[in-house]
Symmetry: C2
Subunit: 467 residues, 2 copies
């Protein structure tokens, strides 16, 4: 375990006290939303700062950071861009250690000078931003996200940390994650990153014991070499999944007016991420589909970097079995071959219908029950020819019971082989999907996404073979 206090992230996630500069009397303003959220969830003192208010939400309001009797360790700033350098200067002089600048209107619209002024004014302070939506730690209660909670929910506690260069994208994704039940550990919006950047944040997450997998949305970097080195080092310890946006010329142009960074060549990025041992995602759902699997399930056995894993499919719907088989081969994995002994063991189980098909896939048909799944899963995962299992459970059929969730969880624990589940459907299926995910079994709605998650586990197993 790394010693606490060593990471730059601690300045932002473990301050003793916080000032919110730009806290407002009107409850829908950015500074006020942040103030309200922090004063509810954060354990230490939170000071509102606004020269135009004497009190905010019934608490004494300070005209400036310098007038707070005990200087806050962290300042969260939500005032118009031109006022920010002055505020930073005062905060630095007052002994403030770090600032989060939420305000926009800097280099992304050509005002590079304002950012240089901040750098000159900051002294030893560390700065996150500007032009960010905030940061979130589901464990400590630090939440500086400026979107109101009724519009953007906060996700539950989890093991995935998420770095986003785009604030709006980060916020939309957190909102989606909250609804989907995807757990998040820390979220950091890095925006124009004039000081603390992707390299620093990644370093912090590398040493963060609460982070099991790291998801990154990035448009470009100013520190290519260091970023590569840090990705390489981190991915030896935990899986890192990256979306690189701005792959095309037009996308790269859009990046310039978004976070004012150079998008770089798509092929260079692609090669760099591969070399660094990262998994590349193209899409938001892919980013979290992969992070979910990699943070919950062990990588499967692979004989070598050139080999692949043998996957067994167990289903109660023939069509889904066919689609998963197609995908497993198309995504470069192998279909396991059950030994005759395993086939006999499954056939011998009372109740397995005569029209069930015992091969790969094992199709238990619409007459499936939790008992049949138990027999099939136990026999298949005991088979030395099976490295991992994709289990399809369609909860629409009349006889399947909720107990199948326990059956799958227990098999995952007992055999230590990775399991991912495919389950499509409405409310009844969703309830079971969430039960499965609470039990640490990543569950996806389509064959493609399920197999893609399994493929990521196989890829990560190979990455770990590199050294």
């Amino acid at each position: 375990m790394p010693k606490p206090g060593r990471s730059v992230l601690d300045l932002f996630f473990r301050p003793k006290s916080i000032a919110v500069v730009g806290a407002s009397r009107s409850t829908h303003k950015v500074g006020r939303i942040v103030y309200d959220n922090l004063s509810k969830a954060f354990g230490g003192p939170v000071y509102p700062v606004n020269p135009q208010a004497e009190t905010i939400a019934g608490r004494v309001c300070y005209p400036s950071v310098g007038t707070i009797p005990e200087p806050p360790e962290l300042a969260v700033i939500a005032t118009p861009a031109p006022t920010v350098p002055g505020i930073i200067e005062e905060a630095s002089k007052a002994g403030c250690k770090a600032a989060i600048i939420l305000s926009s209107g800097f280099s992304e619209i050509g005002r590079k000078g304002l950012e240089e002024d901040i750098i000159k004014a900051k002294g030893k302070m560390r700065i996150l931003g500007p032009n960010i939506v905030g940061i979130l730690d589901t464990h400590s209660g630090i939440d500086t996200i400026f979107n109101p909670k009724h519009r953007q929910a906060r996700p539950q506690k989890g093991k995935i940390s998420f770095i986003s260069q785009s604030g709006a994208l980060g916020a939309a994704v957190l909102d989606w994650a909250a609804m989907e039940g995807v757990g998040i550990s820390k979220f950091i919006s890095i925006g124009n990153r004039i000081d603390v950047d992707e390299v620093d944040v990644l370093d912090g997450l590398e040493h963060d014991p609460g982070t099991r997998a790291i998801a990154i949305y990035i448009e470009g970097t100013h520190r290519g070499r260091e970023f590569y080195e840090k990705l390489r080092e981190t991915s030896k310890k935990k899986p890192v999944i990256v979306i690189k946006a701005g792959r095309t010329a037009a996308g790269a142009k859009a990046v310039m007016s978004h976070t004012a960074s150079l998008a770089g060549e798509a092929e260079i990025w692609h090669g760099m991420l591969e070399q660094a041992g990262c998994l590349e995602a193209k899409e938001i759902d892919e980013l979290f589909d992969l992070a979910k699997a990699l943070s919950e399930q062990p990588p499967p056995k692979v004989a070598s970097r050139e080999a692949t894993s043998a996957i067994q499919v167990i289903t109660n719907g023939g069509g889904f079995g066919v689609m998963c088989s197609d995908e497993i081969l198309e995504q470069g994995m192998a279909l396991a071959r059950l030994s005759p002994k395993t086939v006999r063991a499954i056939r011998a189980f009372r109740g397995i219908p005569a029209h069930a098909s015992i091969g790969n896939p094992i199709d238990l048909t619409g007459d499936s029950t939790a008992d049949m799944y138990e027999a099939a899963i136990t026999a298949a995962l005991s088979d030395r020819g099976v490295d991992a299992a994709i289990i399809i459970v369609l909860f629409q059929v009349p006889a399947i019971e909720t107990r199948v969730v326990d059956v799958i969880r227990q098999a995952a624990e007992r055999f230590g082989k990775p399991i991912v589940v495919c389950s499509t459907g409405g409310e009844f299926a969703q309830v079971h999907r969430k039960l499965l995910e609470k039990a640490g079994i990543p569950t996806y709605p389509t064959p493609y996404r399920t197999v893609r998650a399994m493929s990521a586990l196989v890829k990560y197993a190979k990455i770990r073979k590199r050294k």
Copy 2:
């Protein structure tokens, strides 16, 4: 408009009366679930048939189809496979016109003989099945799906009809569609299709005024030439989107034990579908993503079969704008170029923030309001260089109002150019997604899926250029 009564589908979707053979006193049995659903929703008489019961749900139960005083036009059969040929023979003699055989245990497990017996016994009757999950018509109330409604919801009325060779897959998808708010017109599970097959059903849907787009899940066909001809003819009138499963050798093997059909070569299918003017999907969500767009939005202008359309992106989140730009180019479309006049018109609108970026994408930033969207959308869609628009609306930002839904709907009506929306997020975003979709604006959670839907509209515009 085609004359009603001409299609074989009418035998199944517009019978005057129905017998449910295998209706049971126990409420969780397949035959009973079907009987209960039909007797609630279907307008005409529904007769339970079971030699072991005198009454079912308080209604007189008949020992066999032949003993029903007025012969039913349609028989739904849910009895063990070996009993089916005899039941069909009696139903045919009694004057029954059609039967839906839900039972499994036929050629999919090697019992080809039982199917031959049915064919010999059926006389002039038309048969759907065996080994199917049922059929559904959201408009007429015909629902022979054997899964209980608390496990598998039924979707709302809509314009998409869905043919599935896999019953369980069909059921899972309907359940998912119900939750997602995807509207369905007719659903037909075709299973082992010993009589009425994909060609007949497609012919029926071609002439069905309630069907605006057709989605098909298929594993194989016995009538390659006729199926191709029918796909070709149908796709001239309405979009047809097809998933062909069993693409790989292993998938094809799984198909044999699932619906006992020959999967055929992936390349042959791919070429056949392309030639026939169908859109091919690889995944369930893709199938309905495309069907949603194609059933609701007009195809955009394309100059020729070789040309593409110019897409304008309007966003309030920079990262999503970058991702959509990348995808538009990677998926083979062009980014529109706004005329200087259009750019001036948008800039002139009071309230557009100085840090907004007016190009492609138009980025209204997190300060966006419905008024700003209205100004940007109106100006962009008035521009002759814009063939279609992808509108990204992130509902997490503080100032965006619900009125943006009306703004988008009105623009779609006024300009007749296709619009698809990208919106990611939790409950608040979902409410707005559903409002947009009720207004006929297809809405997707990720850039990739949004652009893929737009790409389908462009492809369909080109298909229509063929003749």
